[in-house]
Amino acid sequence: MRTLLYILSFAALIGLGFWAYQENYRTKQIVNETERLQQNIANARARLGVLRAEWAYLNRPDRLRELAELNFSALSLMPMTPDQFGRTDQVDYPMPEPRPLLKITDPVDVSTMAMQGGQP
């Protein structure tokens, strides 16, 4: 009886040791993975920061103004002025084309009664 107990507890010890060993290595692996990911995130953030700074630098008002002046012949960009505002009723929409007068040769059925069962 006692021998069996010894054998069992020894087996449990071996089993726990093996389990702890595995868990230890898995944890280490996950920590390494996390570190790698965090490094990637940090790098991505740094790159994003640089890109944002560069975007802001390239879009600084002084540069845009100079570019607009340099490319005036091509773009004719001017500062916004109040007379560029308008009301929608001031917009000259193209006149609708005058419809050609149709000669009604065959009568058209305008009643919806016929639509009941037929095609739309």
Binding site: G49, T81, P82
Partner: protein, 597 residues
């Protein structure tokens, strides 16, 4: 003592018998034995105790050594982030960004490198110095050679270097030249909003990192907020609008050059919330290369000086509307009340005169429209000393502005200690009191906000400020109406522009001499305005320092000829940017056609 085998009996029979034969006292033997036994017991106990003390001492020594070693390790080792925590990813940059009201970047950080040298690790110090002087033309070759070949073991070479420069230094292959990572503060827009942002420099510096500290402006004011890791890199959002700020700077700079002014400032403020949308002070500087503080000369002449906040000037006739508004508010007058303006008013050695002769009497409206000093002084007389002081204090004109800049407390108004009746009269038309343009902007915003107090702020606000009512709504409305009449019929006729209705008041004040008295030919001109006049949403202050308009036969220096045209031009340019609907001419405009169909 349990060792009873070795125990000597206290009364050994043999010795007792022997003693009895000799006629000695056998008790002496017992006593002697007892003594010996006690001595033995004591010696044993001592050895045991000494052993215990030794063990205890060893344990304590070990414990303290462990603590000491740990302390040494903590103090000497480089700090490392915990490897398993998830909090590490949320820390982005050392210092938060600053953005404008639409989220456009005004200040951000950029990763760069600092260059330093360990001369004792160098292979060819002289060649390295030569090459460094070639890469960085501003470095002194002799100085570097001296540093590298001398006894120094550590030399800073550059605080910030560009990636190209880093590659060039790397290509030298000198093991004694080392790079340390750095974050640098970048202001991508250059000089735009320079006075507000201020600038930043390095505080505590180490090889692997350096602390960025704000040196002026909002960077310094919000140093703690920007560096607080609890904010998680959340940007600081200002009320500024980058586009409007840049356009204002351009127009103000043009106006300053055209009118030969030595300095200029403009403030555009939202009248409902007190948000400062643009604030310009010229001349300006580039916060990326912040110049050193001037060591001589007047501080006003330095580009670092923020005229809008720090520059306290007598702003002249722009103050008249406060007197009129208070007189209206108190019910002392109505806009049509006639006031005697015969002058000059004599008061001791002083006399108060008008710029022109305006007749015997004028209505309150006309006093503002024609800008009569005497008429305003008469109204101030009716208001009285105490009530005037209280009113100006309610408008925030007697204390430094609460704006979020480190320079704000230095823009404290200059007022006379003895506030006499004469002071009341001169203050009523803006003399004998010096305030900053920002004070004026806040006070005009209070009028524009129908009498509710407005406090200037540089931070984005989500709701209109709910300040106390400084004057009644009808009085404020009447004051707005008078300001509109100044533009339509009075001194600010250049502000009559198409598309937008402006209301405002001009002010021309002679500059005081440092020795006392006033210059005859140096003025500060101001135009304090609000638009659209029917329901003011924005307040614009334009102030020019020593302008002169030379297109006519004789130089003109009044605000109507200098500050007003600049302000009118500025409103024409920025009001569309603010999304204000212009008054559109009723006849259909030619040229608007639908081009995409």
């Amino acid at each position: 003592m349990s060792d009873s085998n070795l125990r000597i009996p206290l009364r050994p029979l043999a010795r007792i018998l022997e003693a009895r034969e000799k006629g000695e006292n056998p008790d002496a033997i017992e006593k002697e034995n007892l003594r010996l036994r006690h001595e033995e017991m004591r010696d044993k106990a001592r050895v045991r105790a000494e052993g215990r003390i030794l063990v205890l001492g060893a344990v304590f020594a070990l414990a303290f050594t462990t603590i000491g070693l740990k302390m040494w390790a903590v103090a000497e080792s480089e700090p490392a982030e915990p490897r398993t925590s998830i909090a590490g990813a949320s820390i982005v940059a050392q210092r938060g960004d600053i953005v404008d009201r639409h989220g456009r970047v005004l200040a951000t950080n950029l990763d760069t490198y600092a260059l330093y040298a360990h001369p004792h690790q160098m292979v060819e110090p002289v060649k390295a110095a030569e090459e460094l002087a070639r890469i960085f033309p501003d470095l002194n070759k002799e100085r570097l050679t001296r540093d590298f070949t001398g006894k120094r073991r550590f030399v800073w070479i550059r605080r910030k270097i560009s990636p190209e420069q880093r590659q060039a230094v790397h290509d030298l292959g000198e093991p004694g030249l080392l790079f340390g990572p750095r974050e640098m503060r970048l202001y991508p827009n250059g000089a735009v909003a320079a006075h507000i942002l201020g600038g930043a420099g390095y505080g505590e510096e180490g090889v692997h990192a350096a602390e960025i500290k704000g040196t002026a402006g909002i960077e310094r004011k919000f140093d703690d907020y920007l560096t607080d890791p609890a904010n998680g890199g959340k940007p600081l959002q200002l009320s500024l609008d980058l586009t409007v700020q840049a356009a204002s700077e351009q127009i103000l700079y043009g106006g300053m050059r055209l009118l030969n002014a030595k300095g200029a400032t403009s403030i555009l403020m939202d009248a409902k919330t007190g948000e400062i949308i643009s604030m310009v002070s010229l001349p300006d500087f580039d916060p990326n290369e912040r110049p050193a503080l001037p060591t001589s000369g007047h501080p006003d002449d330095s580009p670092l000086f923020n005229r809008a906040v720090q520059g306290v000037y007598e702003l002249g006739s722009t103050f008249k509307i406060f007197t009129a508004a208070q007189a209206l508010d108190l019910g002392l007058v109505v806009p049509e009340t006639m006031v005697d303006i015969r002058g000059p008013i004599r008061w001791g050695r002083h006399s108060i005169r008008d710029f022109h002769w305006y007749g015997k009497e004028l209505s309150v409206s006309e006093i503002i429209i024609k800008s009569s000093n005497i008429g305003t002084a008469r109204m101030a007389e009716k208001v009285g000393v105490e009530r005037q002081k209280q009113f100006l204090a309610d408008l925030g004109l007697l204390e430094a502005t609460p704006v979020e800049l480190i320079e704000a407390p230095s823009g404290e108004p200059l007022i006379q200690k003895q506030w006499s009746e004469l002071t009341t009269m001169t203050v009523s038309f803006g003399h004998g009191i010096s305030v900053s343009p920002l004070h004026l902007a806040a006070a005009y915003a209070t009028i524009a906000n129908d009498g509710k107090r407005v406090r200037p702020t540089l931070l984005r606000q989500s709701a209109p400020a709910d300040g106390p009512q400084v004057m009644s709504k009808p009085a404020a409305r009447q004051a707005q109406h008078m300001l509109r009449q100044v533009v339509t019929d009075g001194t600010a006729s250049f502000a009559r522009i198409d598309h937008y209705d402006i209301a405002g008041k001009t002010g021309t004040a002679d500059k005081p001499k440092p020795t006392g008295g006033y210059y005859k030919d140096k003025v500060i001109t101001t135009f304090a305005s609000m638009f659209p006049a029917s329901d003011p949403r924005y307040v614009l202050i334009v102030t020019l320092d020593e302008p002169v308009e030379t297109s006519g036969d004789e130089p003109r220096r009044t605000a109507g000829w200098t500050a007003v045209p600049v302000a009118a031009e500025m409103i024409t340019r920025i009001a569309p940017l603010l999304g204000l609907r212009p008054e559109i001419a009723p006849t259909p405009l030619a040229g608007i056609t639908l081009t995409s169909n």
